[in-house]
């Protein structure tokens, strides 16, 4: 009855439970989103230490339960401290968790999502670039089958250099030319950055300094993700 299993996961969020326990919500590599009880975790001498805090990346031994699993062991894969070393890192990390929480389903394996979250966290720990979160959001949408059309007007089918793209429509999922324009205005530089993100040139986008363009790309990424999950993303707005 008490089935044990091992997995790796990133802690998405935690809830207080009873005196000193917590419910930990993990995005795992092999089991999708898992909710598990960590006993005694709020005590300062807990065997779990800091390993089950939001943004922690852990290898866990879990006991399968009917509603909630139980965390039996947890060991750190990556240290949490870099994520808590600056407000930029922490707020970017939380923005990644919020999106992952929205797109993950309980007990539905989504190894791509897990890999992308771990990758984004590593990038943030190293250097929280202005476009790290936007890059993650755009790639997340693409992996969810919502890859935006960036090379052809979604209404008239026009392509460059015959037409120039000046807008992005969330509902239509792509760029529009001047005569068809609707939705959000989009600068040529922002379009270039989104093309870099989705065209295998992420490093180039991450090297960009903070500017009006990075703000535009970030805002559009947040709107696109919100349109897809039909819910407001709170973290990004909170730390602006």
């Amino acid at each position: 009855m008490s089935e044990l299993y091992r997995d790796s996961g990133v802690v998405l969020r935690t809830y207080k439970l009873r005196e000193a326990d917590r419910i930990v919500v993990l995005l795992t590599a092999a089991n999708g989103k898992v909710r598990a009880v960590a006993k005694g975790v709020r005590k300062t001498r807990s065997k779990f230490g800091a390993r089950l805090e939001p943004m922690s990346h852990v290898r866990v031994l879990l006991v399968r339960g009917r509603e909630l699993d139980i965390v039996s062991q947890a060991e750190s894969v990556e240290p949490l401290s870099p994520m808590l070393s600056s407000l930029d890192r922490a707020s970017q990390g939380l923005a990644v968790l919020e999106a992952a929480e929205q797109l993950s389903l309980e007990r539905e394996p989504n190894p791509d999502l897990y890999r992308m979250v771990v990758g984004a966290m590593r990038a943030i720990a190293e250097r929280p670039a202005p476009l790290t979160v936007a890059g993650f959001y755009w790639k997340l949408l693409a992996s969810e089958g919502m890859r935006p059309e960036l090379d052809m007007c979604v209404r008239c089918g026009g392509t460059e250099p015959e037409v120039a793209f000046v807008a992005f429509d969330l509902g239509e999922g792509g760029v529009l030319c001047r005569s068809c324009r609707s939705g959000h205005p989009m600068s040529a530089e922002a379009l270039e950055a989104v093309r870099d993100i989705l065209g295998g040139r992420l490093a180039k986008a991450l090297a960009m300094e903070e500017s009006a363009v990075t703000h535009e790309v970030s805002l559009l990424a947040t709107h696109a993700l919100e349109y897809h999950v039909e819910r407001r993303m709170r973290t990004v707005a909170m730390f602006e």
């Binding site: 001498r45 800091a50 805090e53 600056s86 407000l87 919020e98």
Partner: protein, 203 residues
């Protein structure tokens, strides 16, 4: 789903289930325990809840629990008004007072930042802290939020708001194990952490 209980019992279970840390099963167990108690015992419990709610309120200055307008710490003029220790909850003050190391005043945020739960600066007593700085001549703020993700994020956010005001902003030392709650720390560890506080650098 149709409830198996009569409406008054179901209402009681629902209300109990809204309390922190009480799941549906515990709510059910507590409800049936209450129903088995003599009427006088139930009346005493109801009275205690109402009485506490009527008489205890938040200190106008620091949001600690208080019986009057000010909590006992704010009302004590021997306390150093220039140093303020910022905590998440009133119960953290109890833990810090036990150390006997701190002679300043406090400020209770009534929570910690948790964007995924929709708890941001506006939901906490942050604006109220900022207005205290000038009004009370505060020169040092010690950030004593919990050593976990929410508490660290809150401390860094506060540091970013406070540093431009030209005061000393410090964080209790890392002797505290990350992940635990302040209220569970023993007074020796907490006292050392308070003594070894260090300036926050806004990275």
């Amino acid at each position: 789903m149709v409830s198996a209980y009569t409406p008054p019992v179901q209402t009681l279970i629902d209300e109990l289930g809204r309390l922190p840390g009480i799941g549906p099963k515990s709510a059910q167990r507590i409800a049936f325990h209450l129903l088995k108690l003599p009427s006088a015992d139930v009346a005493r419990l109801a009275h205690a809840i109402n009485d506490a709610k009527d008489k205890v309120r938040f200190c106008e200055r620091c949001f600690n629990v208080a019986e009057g307008a000010l909590c006992p710490i704010c009302a004590d003029d021997r306390r150093d008004a220039t140093v303020v220790c910022v905590v998440e909850e009133s119960r953290d003050i109890v833990a810090l007072e036990r150390t006997g190391e701190f002679r300043g005043r406090y400020h209770v945020l009534l929570g910690a930042m948790n964007p995924l739960e929709g708890i941001g600066p506006e939901q906490l007593k942050i604006r109220e802290l900022l207005t205290r700085i000038d009004a009370e001549g505060i020169t040092e703020v010690i950030l004593c939020t919990n050593p976990n993700t929410e508490g660290e994020v809150t401390a860094m956010y506060l540091a970013r708001q406070l540093q431009p005001l030209g005061l000393t902003v410090t964080r209790i030392a890392s002797g505290l194990p990350v992940g635990g709650d302040l209220e569970y720390a023993d007074e020796l560890t907490l006292g050392r952490a308070l003594e070894g506080r260090r300036p926050v650098d806004d990275g």
